[in-house]
Symmetry: C2
Subunit: 699 residues, 2 copies
């Protein structure tokens, strides 16, 4: 059973790739709008591709260097660990797959934006379908590629004959993916917010022209930013998540090899494969009437996906998580183990739904927190900021309770399955449950920047009021889905992190991480501080990169007075170029810090201390990411709420204060927050890869 | 030797109390200014005392209730731990001493402010001496009272005959002190910032009258706030620190009883006593010329104190930390143990100096960080806030490195002393070294609100330009010393926390806190989130309390139009009263949260999990406190820097942006940040007291 299901993973992945291809073809065949629209979309596409090309060149060089170091370290330093080439090859392959999923996702996205804009001329439903299916290309691709990559390497490294040792050889794949994701998310996140803040400050504040006004030289850079930050960055991020979590769960499966055999090791891949099928079907279910709220359509698809994924999970646990006959003879109580593990999966699925609702509560203006910020805006920027920070900090409570309950609940269920050490595997199964809808969630996420771009194209091409209204409605739903994905991403990162810790303990031959030892405590302290320093660097990088843009826009206005009069076109490409260079320069320092600090701690303080770095860093990272994401989202929507007419509406004193909050929230929620998700997982994969070397140094 | 030195502690404490009395008498004998000044000072004093009376009534009731619960829990729940009354009595005594030191400190402070204002009419030196000596009353009293309390209880509980068991009976004293400090700091911190923000928003922003203008009905409440927040709150906070750290170090000394006998247990008290003497002498050395920078005078005193404290420390280690003859026969290598421990003390002293300089770097406008914020203010409030948040996050790096180096360094030195388990005791000795100058630091801290108040009195009594200049100079130095103390308080809290962890392990019969266990990991996660929730509640409380004031001031302006014309006096007392009620109401939720959450975790998840709550909560608390204190301080000084004429000076666009930052920073640095210091230590003392009960439940 296990073997044939294992091979089915490749079938599912290939089917997934085919679906992605068909969806992309569907999107490409749609009408691509008026000449004016095409012109704008071409500029966005050109800018985005130019950025990606340069970014990938930089990342490529860094990856090759690090790959060579890993190979050398394993080869020369750890001759007894004769798998130097495995880790290096896996690293490079992981990096390549991550880059590829970022690239294709964005390639479709910059085509879908134009077609969404064009479809919005006729029908809301059509526009919704094009943008969601464009997003789904990314979502499906990411999951399918990670399944193929991890499954393929497992097979190539001889996992079918040596299943207990091969999973540890795969960690390089996860690290490669994390490494690329870190720079992709950082570079993209810095680009998008530098362009946004720069365009706003110099356009809205200094020149007094509205948002997305074609006279603003930075306007194309701003639209490019949505793609490179939200599409390419998030794509790489979620690729890395799925890969790292699959590998981590496989490593935990090794501990249960006497119980489940190969089945327990490949279970994560099979469960993920079933989830992929569920997501594809869910996407096809999304359909609305012209008068309906687009969120309703997306929710329908989400619930179809969740329902099907639950069924798939039931099948996977039933088929794979029944103990071997020998084990059952010795432990007859374990006969219904699969039911308990299905319970763990349910815990994960429920947790993912809880995350979606909690994020909505803290970031939508229907509820108390955002209203409180809007109210505080009446007394000025200062109270707006104070109130938003308080909301951000408060918003950490519920998600952490959900994470805690999910961890303890699945551990408890796993322990009661009748299988020894079943608790830890239970937490892994819960993580798999949570991630079973990942492809759909990612589709909703990428839907955000596509509709955002479509809105920009419609605005710049001066389409009719009716068309704008359609894209505005989609755009506002896109903001919500973007916020939800972040909540989901943090939650899954936290659950997955615990699974990766356990893998790290196995890898580093540790049985405990004892915080009461001074050196371990210091490791934890440094892990927490790393998270704050990294965030400070990421936020500051946005400020620096924004200055490059501001200076260029000022220069363009000065050099060519025809721009402001509307008689001559600004040089959009120059702005895009400057923003690209700025973002790539600024991503280096935070990125390198994230790599060097944990490595140094591992070599100086040892494997147990860096374990604490990993764990306490993860705790701090999850919480800080929640603060940054949710305060940012809440500020954004407090502004939007006031713009609906509350507290004096647009242009009022309260609105001005709310704009300040929105500006502050931008680098929080779109640069530092999402980069922290990557950092959390990078800490895990980095330490997993380096653990054998830390041990060598200790000897 | 040990016994006679132990008794000398009482002598030193009594001498300290005498010094405090003499200093208070010195202050009281000074000229108390013009009738106008007296009138204002009387209003401040009346408001401050009224607040303290009501606050202490509330705290008193809470303390009695909790004392009864502790007694009952120990008496009925833990009959085998027949020390129910010890813990309850120690708790009540600790609470009483903490309240007393807060009260007396403030009592002197509200007298010293007037006399400082009066002296400023003649001489800068005289004003400096009065304000510092007024502050020193607080500083000396706190240390002397904590020495007497801890030493006295040790004696009364039979420590001379049963030295290995009694230290654990003292933990109630620390918890009582923490408990009062929590509410004192929270209530005072909320009061001071609610009054400040409220007075500014309704006075400066709405009515357009300058700061400290007598027409503002909230102006006295604002001045009262400086006393109740900064004097009474910080006094209780530092009392609790010194008490908890003494007790924690004594508990660690028990582990070395076979080596040092009684000497190792009473060493912390003796070292602290010598530090007290050094501080008293240091205070007397402060003297400046009219043209000199007052900071120079304070620095001279600080270095005299540090030098003498180092000598005292040398004496204490030499006299007390030489192993017994039996131990030396078996371990001849330990003969020079005292030298190694003196090294640990030096590590602590150097760390405390490092903290002072790092805080200066991040919060003074001579250096890069504050300049960066001022620069960012040119593009508006949004960039000012972003930049300040980045500085706050960045500022966590260096202090954490110093803490790490101090912990590992003293552990290393202690381990090399030739004494088994010497490492842990080494970290305790380093903490004692760091805290040896505590009385002087606290004197400098209380100096801040005294000069701040003196400035307000001078302003409101319409004194001459020259007098204002003197108090302005003192006030600006006071801002610096307040920031420094916070840096010092966070650093010492972090070092002390590690010492209290170790005491907790002893108390709870644990040998490790293994983060790799799910339940322990969840404990850690909840500890970190508690810190953020607590901060959110504290920050929000300021907002709520500020609204009460804003509404009252608006009502007063409406009811009595003569106020704005200057023809009739506003009702200051009503504002003070409303602020008092508001602050006391708002302190309850965060305070109760801080007590209930760790207690619940302990009972639900067990002693090891709550150990992780304590440790990870401390890490998160130290880092978040640094972020809040330093960003707040940096924003404050960025505004001041711009007011010196940079970036357009007062009234410019940049200045307006900087004012926003200052407003945001207020509840960060004066409410949430300082309350976090208390929370960190409360976590330690709370878990220390409850550990036996957690163990009972687990059984």
């Amino acid at each position: 059973m296990g073997q044939s299901l294992f091979y089915s993973i490749f079938g599912i992945s290939l089917a997934g790739l085919l679906c992605a291809y068909l969806l992309a073809r569907y999107v490409l065949r749609q009408d691509d709008g008026t000449p004016k629209m095409k012109e704008i979309a071409a500029a966005i596409k050109e800018g985005a591709m130019a950025f990606l090309k340069r970014q990938y060149t930089t990342i490529g060089i860094l990856t090759l260097v690090l790959g060579a170091i890993i190979f050398a370290a394993y080869y020369f330093g750890a001759n007894d660990l004769n798998y130097g080439w495995h880790t290096a090859v896996a690293f490079l392959l992981g990096a390549a797959c991550s880059a590829l999923s970022g690239f294709i996702g964005m390639w479709v996205s910059v085509k879908a934006n134009l077609r969404t804009a064009s479809a919005a001329q006729k029908s809301l439903n059509k526009a919704l379908q094009i943008s969601l299916r464009g997003g789904a290309v990314s979502g499906i691709l990411v999951v399918a590629l990670s399944l193929m990559g991890v499954g393929g390497l497992f097979y190539l490294f001889g996992g079918m004959t040596n299943p207990t040792e091969v999973p540890l050889l795969l960690v390089g794949f996860g690290f490669g993916a994390s490494f690329v994701a870190l720079f992709a998310q950082l570079g993209g996140g810095i680009y998008t917010k530098a362009a946004d803040v720069g365009a706003d400050l110099v356009g809205k504040v200094e020149a007094g022209i509205p948002e997305d006004d074609p006279r603003n030289p930075a306007v194309i850079a701003d639209l490019v930013g949505d793609n490179v930050g939200d599409c390419a960055g998030r794509g790489a991020d979620l690729f890395e998540s799925t890969a790292a979590e699959n590998i981590g769960a496989m490593i935990l499966g090794v501990a249960l090899f006497p119980v489940f055999g190969l089945n327990g090791i490949i279970f994560p891949l099979v469960a993920r494969g079933f989830g992929l099928i569920a997501s594809v079907i869910g996407v096809m279910f999304v359909k609305i009437k012209e008068s309906q709220d687009p969120m309703k359509g997306l929710n329908k698809g989400y619930f179809v996906t969740t329902g099907l994924a639950t069924l798939g999970f039931l099948a996977a646990t039933y088929l794979l998580l029944t103990p071997s006959a020998e084990y059952l003879t010795a432990n007859p109580l374990a006969a219904n183990a699969w039911m308990w593990f299905f319970g763990c999966g349910l815990v994960g699925i429920v947790a993912s739904i809880a995350f979606v609702y909690i994020t909505q509560y803290y970031t939508e203006y229907k509820y108390r927190p955002v209203k409180e910020i809007a109210q505080a805006s009446e007394t000025g920027s200062g109270t707006n900021i104070i109130s938003g920070m308080a909301v951000g900090m408060e918003s950490t409570g519920m998600p952490v309770l959900v994470i805690s309950a999910a961890l303890l609940g699945s551990y408890f269920l796993g322990n009661h399955s009748g299988i020894e050490q079943g608790g830890l595997y239970g937490t892994a199964v819960a993580t798999m449950g949570m991630l079973s809808t990942a492809a759909y969630i990612l589709a909703m996420d990428t839907f955000g920047p596509i509709t955002d771009n479509a809105g920009g194209i419609v605005e710049m091409s001066k389409s009719s009021e009716e068309v704008r209204k359609r894209t505005d409605r989609l755009d506002s739903v896109g903001n919500t889905t973007k916020a939800l994905t972040k909540g989901y991403a943090v939650g899954s990162a936290a659950l997955a992190a615990f699974l990766l810790f356990s893998a790290y303990l196995t890898d580093a031959h540790l049985t405990s991480i004892d915080l009461a030892k001074p050196v371990v405590f210091v490791g934890g302290l440094l892990g927490a501080v790393l998270v704050f320093i990294f965030s400070a660097l990421a936020i500051r990088a946005v400020g620096h990169a924004a200055y490059y843009i501001i200076n260029d826009v000022r220069a363009q206005f000065k050099e060519n007075p025809g721009i402001m009069k509307g008689t001559s076109k600004p040089d959009y490409a120059r702005c895009v170029d400057i923003c690209t260079k700025g973002a790539l320069k600024e991503m280096i320092l935070p990125g390198v810090t994230a790599i060097v600090v944990p490595t140094a701690i591992g070599f100086l303080l040892g494997a147990e201390a860096v374990g604490a770095t990993l764990m306490v860093g993860t705790i701090a990272g999850v919480i800080l990411a929640l603060v940054l994401n949710n305060s940012g989202g809440a500020w954004d929507n407090a502004k939007k709420y006031i713009e609906t007419g509350a507290h004096g509406g647009k242009g009022s004193f309260a609105h001005k204060a709310a704009v300040t909050g929105d500006t502050v929230g931008d680098p929080f929620k779109d640069t530092a927050g999402p980069s922290l998700h990557v950092l959390i997982k990078l800490l895990s994969t980095l330490t997993l890869v380096l653990a054998p070397l830390f041990l060598l140094v200790q000897k």
